[in-house]
Amino acid sequence: MSAPDRINDRINDRINDRLAMPLPATIAEAIALEMERDPAIVCVGEDIGRAGGVFGTTRGLQERFGRDRVLDAPIAEMGFTGMGVGLAQAGMRPLIEIMFVDFVGVCLEQMYNAAAKIPYMSGGRQRMPIVFKTAGGCIGSAAQHSQCLWGLFAHLPGFKVVAPCNPHDHKGLMAAALRSDDPVVFIEHKALLLQKGRDFRHHPDVPAEAYTLPIGQAAVVREGSDVTLATLSATVEHALAAAEELAGEGVSVEVIDLRSVVPLDTATVAESAARTGRLLVVDEDYLSFGLSAELTLRVIEALGHGALRQTARLAVPDVPIPAALSLERAVVPNAALIAERLRAMAKGA
């Protein structure tokens, strides 16, 4: 084997190694690289130190950066979320982990009344560089461990709200969140946290070095001409699966990954919908007063009434997430439900 071939083999091995990385390891890598370059970053949360996080997203950080910078907190979310506010005011850059987003009810006070409002209430004098890292989404854990809630955070002014869908974006957006001077709610999807790089259809490749992605830019992850489908987080995978299925039926679906709810990249969605004339917003969060209505209306406002032939929404129909699989499949958007909705749209005008 020639020298260049050996080098190519080694590069391929390395790429394959990285494709075998579980998504949590990619996230831990992103945090570690940022902690290396910025000593002000402090992580606080339940089981994030010795255990490395219940999903492994902080594995190895405490060993590397010590117990002061990676702090195992007691089950006292109100206490340690407010601690994040104080750390930020004291010049640190805290990452506060709320293990599951469903637990936010016990500490929302410090998030929405303090962290989100202080930059404004202080007239811009007090920055609030906090990342609220949390896991959301449905993996069969029923009503109290399956919610997304990004619509809740987006409704409360002052948060940036990020929910990535693939390893590449998790790494780049986590780095961007840790470098942001604004409070960022970073919602990982539990179903994605159980996967490895190569399980992802879109952008499984993750460079080893640190990089950032801009917060607030959607990505067109599949081009199409008949329907624009906008969604985010784990639903992007379901949307891509449904789009593949519909392609076999002669329907061309453009899939857009929103990547963040705040800022919401209406322009990218509107540009696509103006071409296709049909907009479907799929949201794993609750239907009413949420992302699906907000985005649809913003697109209509951007393009004018009558610019779209069809709009449709698919989201959790205002019901707690049920325990039984048969019920869960009926209410949480999945590839089958998305394909069904796309078919209905294609049969319409």
Partner: protein, 321 residues
């Protein structure tokens, strides 16, 4: 104790009372259009804190925060202008009286009862991990001492022996609810033992006693001995907020508290008994009152924020260059 220290304490209390009286004046002139919580009757606590606070220390205060801000060294012109909702205020009129933030002096507050303590905990952790000698002070009232955040902050601060002082201004009334009716313990200070922390109970109408206790607490925390709860009992002379009908206490009771427990009257009597010249004390009172009157006149001339700027300062990119 030298006369200078005593005179300074007396002047501080007078300055604090004059400040809140200026706020009441501003309210009457409709320069404040929302809620106002003044601290009349609680001056000895604010004045007693001031001496042991260093510039690098942090104070996280409550809805009734003016005296703590002044004790921490927040510029009183900027503070009054913020309370009067002016563009030239501490927070450009976006925060108002319940939400003053001053990164320059490490002072902040919250309008949510009990929410100050977790924030103080964060400062304390930052100070400890950076090896600094600063102390974080979280202020709350008797009402806030019953919240979950109080407990959580004490658990975490005590477990790590963080430099935190919890100052409880116990005025015995959480709006209308009496401390004695809802507290499982006679004092808040005695709860410190449950956290392995130090608890101090002090008469919050006695500025000398507050200054001593608060200095003891700050030294304890600064020396790495862990958090301290300082409970200062006091009386609120006015309603919970301006406009509070105070149906929960008879007018005669309020008058009795004013007559018996005014920290300024009490201290003046002590100073005079010690030989202080009444004319000199009168002069201090007159100076502070005049200074605040002039300051209020100046603040009322300041501009209101521009409505076109109402959305600014939510995110970094909207802040000034």
């Amino acid at each position: 104790m030298s006369d200078t220290v005593q005179q300074t304490r007396f002047r501080r209390m007078l300055a604090m009372r004059a400040f809140d009286e200026a706020c009441l004046d501003a309210l009457r002139r409709k320069a404040i259009h929302g809620e106002l919580h003044v601290g009349l009757g609680q001056e000895a606590i604010g004045a007693g804190m001031a001496e042991a606070l260093r510039p690098e220390d942090a104070v996280v205060s409550t809805h009734r925060n003016h005296f703590h801000a002044l004790a921490k060294g927040v510029d009183r012109r900027a503070l009054l202008a913020e309370i009067c909702e002016r563009e030239g205020g501490l927070c450009r009129g976006r925060g108002g009286h319940m939400h003053p933030f001053d990164p320059d002096t490490n002072f902040s507050a919250t309008g949510i009862v009990g929410a100050s303590l977790p924030v103080a905990l964060g400062y304390a952790h930052a100070f400890a991990m950076r090896g600094e000698s600063a102390v974080a002070v979280g202020v709350t009232g008797d009402g806030g001492s019953h919240t979950g955040g109080f407990h959580e902050a004490m658990v975490m601060a005590a477990a790590r022996k963080l430099p935190m002082v919890v100052l409880v201004e116990n005025n015995a009334l959480a709006i209308s609810v009496q401390f004695s009716e809802v507290s499982p313990t006679d004092t808040v200070a005695e709860r410190a033992a449950a956290y392995g922390a130090r608890g101090l109970h002090v008469d919050g109408t006695d500025v000398d006693a507050v200054a001593d206790s608060f200095a003891t607490a700050m030294a304890h925390a600064r020396d790495g001995c862990g958090p301290v709860i300082v409970e200062a009992t006091c009386h609120r002379f006015r309603g919970h907020f301006e406009g509070d009908p105070e149906g929960y206490r008879p007018r005669a009771e309020r008058q009795r508290l004013r007559d018996s427990f005014d920290p300024i009257t009490l201290y003046r009597a002590r100073l005079e008994a010690g030989g202080a010249d009444p004319a000199a004390l009168d002069a201090i009172a007159a100076e502070e009152k005049a200074a605040m009157k002039a300051l209020l006149a100046e603040v009322l001339e300041m501009d209101m924020p521009d409505p076109a700027e109402a959305l600014r300062y939510r995110f970094t990119e909207e802040a000034p260059a």
